[in-house]
């Protein structure tokens, strides 16, 4: 490899054939370059008389943001596409962790540049900490085909494999419909939202569009008083109710009964998780004998009410 200095204009940045990283923040790297310059030269190669970038997109973008030019580069002599890409891959592999979307980009390029599928599964998946199965390989190729906006969210919010996999269950147009609805939710809630939507859709044989246009959800989406986060939360709960109708009705009845009994907040009354057992539990905190007695008296008073026996109907 030959070390050279190239002005940024000499590098054709529109050619992204070897690029695997898209969503990064430049601030820290730009600050570093500003202070000490570019210490680690990016890799470039020549194609049809042009220099194209093989590795070091973040560094070059940071230089571009600082108008820092010319820059030192290492020029890879004429090699095939796969061989050139592998240089970039191994350079990065040693230096950092890849995100899920970057792994998808890598695997898609290995396939595109003609690497044998079996070799990819056996040799590259373990290097990327991915289980060695075609199921996983296929899933990552599906992530590669995701819309840019979804890739960005998966990358930035560090979505795990199972959550990204959930999005493969939807068509591109469905994903475009879902994404704005879930973008403000926490990761667990995104999972619950998307999983419920998928499962209700599969169970009932209804397309996503039809579910999202159904009465209750339509009203939520059309309500001008709700913020996008509030909308997402309300839709998530509606979907949960559709997905688990019996469990939701038990939870609702239990809550109603708690309210009917005017159960005090400082004494927690809970069924077993998912009502798996008939037992109920009561917990409260106390600092003195007096507080303890007060809670017991309160409980005794609650137990004497007629409605109290209704707690045991959750069998």
């Amino acid at each position: 490899m030959k070390r050279e200095k190239l002005s940024l204009k000499e590098i054709d940045l529109k050619d992204e054939r070897f690029r695997i990283s898209y969503f990064f923040s430049l601030d820290k790297l730009a600050a570093s370059i500003k202070e000490v310059g570019l210490l680690n030269p990016p890799l470039v190669t020549q194609r049809e008389g042009r220099f194209i970038l093989v590795s070091g997109w973040k560094r070059v973008m940071a230089c571009l943001s600082l108008s820092f030019s010319p820059i030192p580069v290492l020029v890879i002599p004429g090699k095939g596409e796969l061989e050139t890409f592998l240089l970039a891959f191994y350079e990065n592999l040693a230096a950092r962790e890849f995100s899920l979307i970057e792994k998808a980009e890598i695997l898609a390029r290995l396939k595109k540049f003609g690497e044998d599928e079996k070799r990819i599964v056996r040799q590259y998946l373990p290097l990327l900490d991915i289980p060695q199965t075609l199921f996983h390989f296929d899933s990552y190729l599906a992530f590669f085909r995701f819309e840019s906006e979804l890739k960005k969210i998966i990358h930035r919010r560090n979505f795990p494999f199972p959550l990204a996999k959930l999005f493969t269950e939807f068509s591109s147009s469905e994903r475009k419909q879902i994404l704005p609805l879930v973008s403000g939710l926490s990761q667990n809630k995104v999972t619950e939202f998307v999983e419920s939507l998928k499962e209700v859709s599969r169970r009932d044989g209804h397309p996503v569009r039809k579910i999202l246009a159904s009465g209750e959800i339509k009203d939520i989406l059309g309500s001008p008083r709700l913020s996008s986060f509030q909308r997402a939360e309300k839709i998530r709960l509606v979907l949960k109710k559709k997905r688990y109708p019996t469990l939701s009705s038990w939870e609702k009845s239990f809550d109603s009964l708690r309210k009917k009994l005017r159960w005090p907040r400082e004494i927690a009354l809970n069924p077993s998780p998912f009502f798996e057992e008939k037992r109920l539990s009561v917990t409260f905190n106390f600092e003195s004998q007096q507080e303890f007695r007060a809670s017991l008296l309160r409980l005794e008073e609650l137990a004497s009410r007629r409605e109290f026996s209704e707690l045991f109907k959750f069998k």
């Binding site: 599964v121 075609l134 209700v200 469990l247 038990w250 998780p273 009502f275 057992e277």
Partner: protein
């Protein structure tokens, strides 16, 4: 399979497993099947695990190897729920059927249909095991990590097992199957401590979710023939699966079962509703994308497995127990598989005090009530 006998496309034999009598017997019974001797079965297993179309890929081949660990293990059951102190003999692994819900898809590290050919080691291990157990009644079977009879036309293991257990007073052998591969059973002399058991579902579930398995009516007919031959029979409604109209379908199965098979010859009927570890859901959907069975109301139990929400399970069990009683099975011993005290109390009316109490309930009929 659907009533036809399974033959693999190829038999792989691990080099060290060539000279066993069971290997020779299988090769004789599958004389037309190509054979390849391999040094490292693990390489082949890994290759099959990598394949995109795993469900059919893994069923194409039969692997003959040796059991290098123990043949006999306690049934793994599940934590926090009532177990039945069952023991399993890992003679074969996996089966040629492709049931969408099968736990083996996730449970077994080796997805190939595998026969452990060093059966002589099993007899030695069983001798020691039974000696250690002394007079304690035990139930043991080959149908947990395999179907006991699905490849019996190749292995003829059922004949050897029945011969071995005959006269072993405190041991009860269960051979559990979904198939109608009963040729060797019908040739064998019935033993009072051997139970031939069938897994049953509704016809709709058998049709949609149990690819390759014989129809429920065929299974019942096979059970009738085995029972008439003089063997005890048992049935496992496991997994019971809900769908619109399940009540009618399950009642039909119970009705035809109890019409065909004399209830007095039924050792027990077990009930277990569909349950699975969360990762199995992903596997089921990847391999059987059209199935809808995972979309019902499953919640996480104390053991981390997904089960139907308790009132739904209770309804399943109560109704099926009702059907069994309605159609003549009032005296049949019933038990629940991997259920909690509350469900036992509500469905069966009592709760076993620990695993051994349930074992006694199921195995003690080895005594007087079982004798003809």
């Amino acid at each position: 399979m659907s009533g036809t006998e399974y033959f693999p496309q190829k038999i792989f034999i691990e080099k060290g497993s060539l000279n066993f009598p069971l290997t020779r017997r299988i090769l004789k019974n599958a004389s037309r099947v190509p054979v390849e001797v391999i040094n490292h079965p693990q390489d082949l297993i890994e290759e099959i695990k990598e394949a995109r179309d795993e469900p059919s890929e893994e069923k194409k081949y039969l692997l003959l190897t040796r059991q290098k660990g123990k043949f006999i293990k306690p049934c793994p059951c599940t934590p926090h729920y009532l177990g039945c102190n069952y023991y399993i003999i890992n003679l074969n692994l996996n089966c040629p059927l492709s049931c969408s819900y099968c736990v083996l898809q996730q449970y077994l590290a080796n997805p190939m249909i595998t026969v452990h050919v060093n059966i002589e080691d099993l007899w030695r291990e069983l001798d020691n095991f039974l000696e250690k157990k002394g007079k304690k009644a035990i139930r043991i079977g080959t149908g947990e990590l395999a179907d006991s009879l699905a490849i019996d036309h190749l292995t003829e293991n059922s004949s050897d097992l029945i011969s071995y257990f005959k006269g072993k007073e405190n041991a009860l052998l269960e051979l559990k199957t979904k198939t109608v591969n009963i040729k060797n059973i019908l040739k064998a002399e019935p033993a009072q401590n051997v139970v031939i058991a069938w897994s049953l579902s509704s016809s709709r579930i058998a049709d949609r979710e149990e690819k390759g398995a014989p129809a429920v009516e065929q299974r019942i007919n096979a059970a009738r023939r085995v029972s008439e031959k003089g063997f005890w029979v048992a049935f496992h409604f496991d997994p019971i699966i809900r769908y619109p109209g399940w009540e009618k379908d399950y009642e039909e199965v119970v009705k035809s079962l109890l019409k065909a098979v004399d209830p007095a010859r039924i050792s027990w009927i077990s009930l277990g509703s569909l349950r699975f570890v969360p990762v199995l859901k992903t596997i089921i959907l990847a391999r059987f994308p059209k199935t809808k069975l995972v979309y019902d109301e499953f919640v996480k139990g104390k053991d981390g497995k997904l089960r139907y929400f308790r009132p739904l399970r209770l309804e399943l069990y109560k109704k099926i127990v009702g059907f069994i009683k309605k159609w003549g099975g009032q005296k049949i011993r019933l038990y629940l598989c991997m259920e909690n005290d509350d469900i036992w109390r509500d469905v069966i009316g009592w709760v076993p005090r620990g695993k051994e109490s349930l074992e006694r309930y199921l195995a003690l009929p080895l005594g007087s009530s079982r004798k003809e």
